[in-house]
């Protein structure tokens, strides 16, 4: 099972060091308070350079997903099928995520998700999103 890593120099950046420490943090504006992703040195909402990092609530909504069956690299042949997701966090930002390797779940667009950070090695962890408990799911009737 091959998990693709960002190159080592990226792993020193706060997004990745927070994850390695076990929590998802979002690049956020200290002036207007809004989060943005991917991280940026300037807030795209109020154009302040006064940006920092805030822990995410971990609550999100599933916007789309796909089960990848065709491996686009020979080293990924043992990894397929795997599930990639597009999620919208409670903080208003979208992220690409997925189901953790070996994990199965019944997915539907609009369902509630919650974040679980899984460490692949001491410097590298990823934020995955799993379906929230049934009681927290939106009423689809």
């Amino acid at each position: 099972m091959t998990v693709i890593r960002p190159s080592e120099d990226y792993l020193d950046q706060p997004f990745w060091t927070h994850l390695a420490a076990g929590t998802l943090h979002l690049s956020s504006c200290d002036d207007c308070g809004k989060a943005h992703h991917p991280p940026s040195p300037i807030c795209p909402h109020c154009r302040s350079f006064n940006t920092g990092w805030k822990p995410a609530s971990g609550r999100a909504t599933l916007k789309s997903f796909t089960e990848v069956r065709h491996p686009v690299h020979t080293l990924l042949e043992p990894s397929v099928p795997y599930v990639v997701t597009l999620v919208e966090l409670e903080e208003g930002v979208r992220m690409v995520s997925g189901l953790p390797p070996g994990h199965e779940a019944e997915l539907r667009v609009g369902m509630a998700l919650e974040c679980t950070v899984i460490r692949h090695d001491p410097r590298f962890a990823l934020p995955y999103f799993l379906p929230a408990p049934e009681a927290e799911q939106p009423d689809t009737a």
């Binding site: 091959t2 693709i4 890593r5 796909t66 990848v68 069956r69 990924l76 979208r94 667009v109």
Partner: protein, 397 residues
């Protein structure tokens, strides 16, 4: 219902040139590019020394300097690049037209040459990944294959398109069968057009709905037949002022309006924008048609950049050519096919003619309006677009 035409662009496409489309061209991209440019000039009745402008994609490997030196172009007075590849198929024409209208150049060639099948393939992860100590590493700052998406295995545009498709299905409540019916109707109809088009890579290969359904799933809900064909070859087109087009006596097609429109999250790949069941705000079509002095109902033909079949229904809805959520019924009833109310991708599209990064999408619009398509329909106007990021309206001269 025609509006005042003062805002219309004042340029025309007067020449098309191309090499054959193939899986292995057997020659360099420079040779392909120069073959296509010479063919486009011949089609227009112009000479190499008439060229005073060049436009290309930043992703093209053959620089303007290389073309100037190879062809011995005596005086190039304008050259410009539009970012990415097919995202800017209409953006490059807009740029050429703007340069002509501003007096920077009088005869601009837009070219694209690529060995995208025999060389580095856009659909493979090798383009964005490195092997390090038996593992895979990304250094990409932006999608596709960037550090925030590649670790989850999202690596190539074809997987992004699967996300667009599932977002659309979820938004409109279409189940797997309904998506299969809609996407299959697009792939099968476009293959039928390709079977009538000798330029198409898949000219000799038919596709039935049964074969479509049996196709290998690449990334749910998309099957192998929902994907474009990586292709070797080159294309070029010649753009001049409308006034000069008329004096040339060339078989011109007019650029009525052309432009670009991107917004946060919509580029490089459409991942982080607020909606994914739609890929362009309605203002894009409204403004484009307004500049052309037309409305959506005046469009006779649609040439939609179909890197996957899913781009087609979303574009028709985004430009108001069909209503929101109507795509399934439109395509399953053959609205896009021969004799339909709005023929779409009558060359076979990127799915079945070849993946020529939008130049062949434009070329089919030009051929239709010249009356030279292999699947000719009666038409005065054509919309060309890549998900609204760049788009244009062509009109019969």
């Amino acid at each position: 219902m025609k509006r005042p035409m003062g805002e219309r662009m004042k340029t025309s496409i007067v020449g098309l040139g191309q090499t054959e489309f193939s899986k292995n061209s057997g020659r360099s991209e420079l040779k392909l590019a120069t073959e296509a440019i010479l063919a486009a000039l011949e089609d227009a009745g112009l000479e190499v020394d008439d060229i005073d402008g060049l436009v290309r994609y930043t992703w093209d490997h053959t620089s303007e300097a290389t073309i100037v030196n190879a062809l011995g172009i005596k005086a190039l007075k304008y050259y410009g690049e539009t970012e990415f590849g097919g995202v800017n198929c209409c953006g490059a024409v807009a740029q050429a037209s703007a340069a002509i209208e501003a007096g920077l150049a009088s005869c601009v060639v837009f070219y694209r040459a690529l060995n995208a099948r025999s060389g580095v393939r856009f659909g493979r992860g090798e383009r964005v990944l490195e092997e390090v100590d038996g593992g895979l590493v990304t250094r990409q700052p932006e999608p596709p294959g960037d550090i925030y998406s590649a670790p989850f295995g999202l690596l190539v545009p074809g997987q992004h398109h699967a996300l667009y498709a599932q977002a659309y299905a979820g938004h409109y409540g279409l189940d797997t069968e309904a998506m299969t019916e809609m996407l299959g109707a697009i792939a099968v109809t476009q293959r039928g057009y390709a079977n009538g088009n000798p330029r198409a890579l898949l000219h000799d290969r038919t596709l039935s709905m049964e074969e479509y359904r049996a196709g290998r799933v690449i990334s749910t809900p998309l099957r192998i037949y929902d994907y474009c064909l990586e292709t070797d070859g080159a294309m070029a087109m010649v753009i001049v002022s409308r006034e000069r087009a008329r004096s040339l006596g060339a078989k011109a097609v007019d650029v009525l309006a052309a432009g670009q429109h991107i917004f946060p999250g919509s580029v490089p790949m459409y991942l982080y924008a607020a909606d994914t069941h739609s890929l362009a705000p309605e203002a894009v079509g409204r403004e484009l048609f307004g500049k052309a002095g037309l409305s959506a109902s005046d469009i006779d033909l649609a040439m939609i950049y179909d890197a996957t079949s899913m781009m087609v229904p979303i574009a028709l809805e985004d430009f108001g050519l069909i209503g929101r959520g109507e795509a399934h019924d439109f395509f399953t009833s053959g609205g896009h096919g021969p004799g339909g109310t709005l023929p779409v991708n009558t060359h076979g599209g990127l799915l079945s003619e070849g993946y020529f990064h939008g130049l062949n999408t434009i070329a089919e619009g030009v051929r239709q309006l010249r009356g030279e398509s292999h699947n000719q329909v009666s038409a005065e106007t054509a919309l060309v677009t890549l998900r609204g990021a760049s788009s244009m309206v062509l009109g019969r001269a």
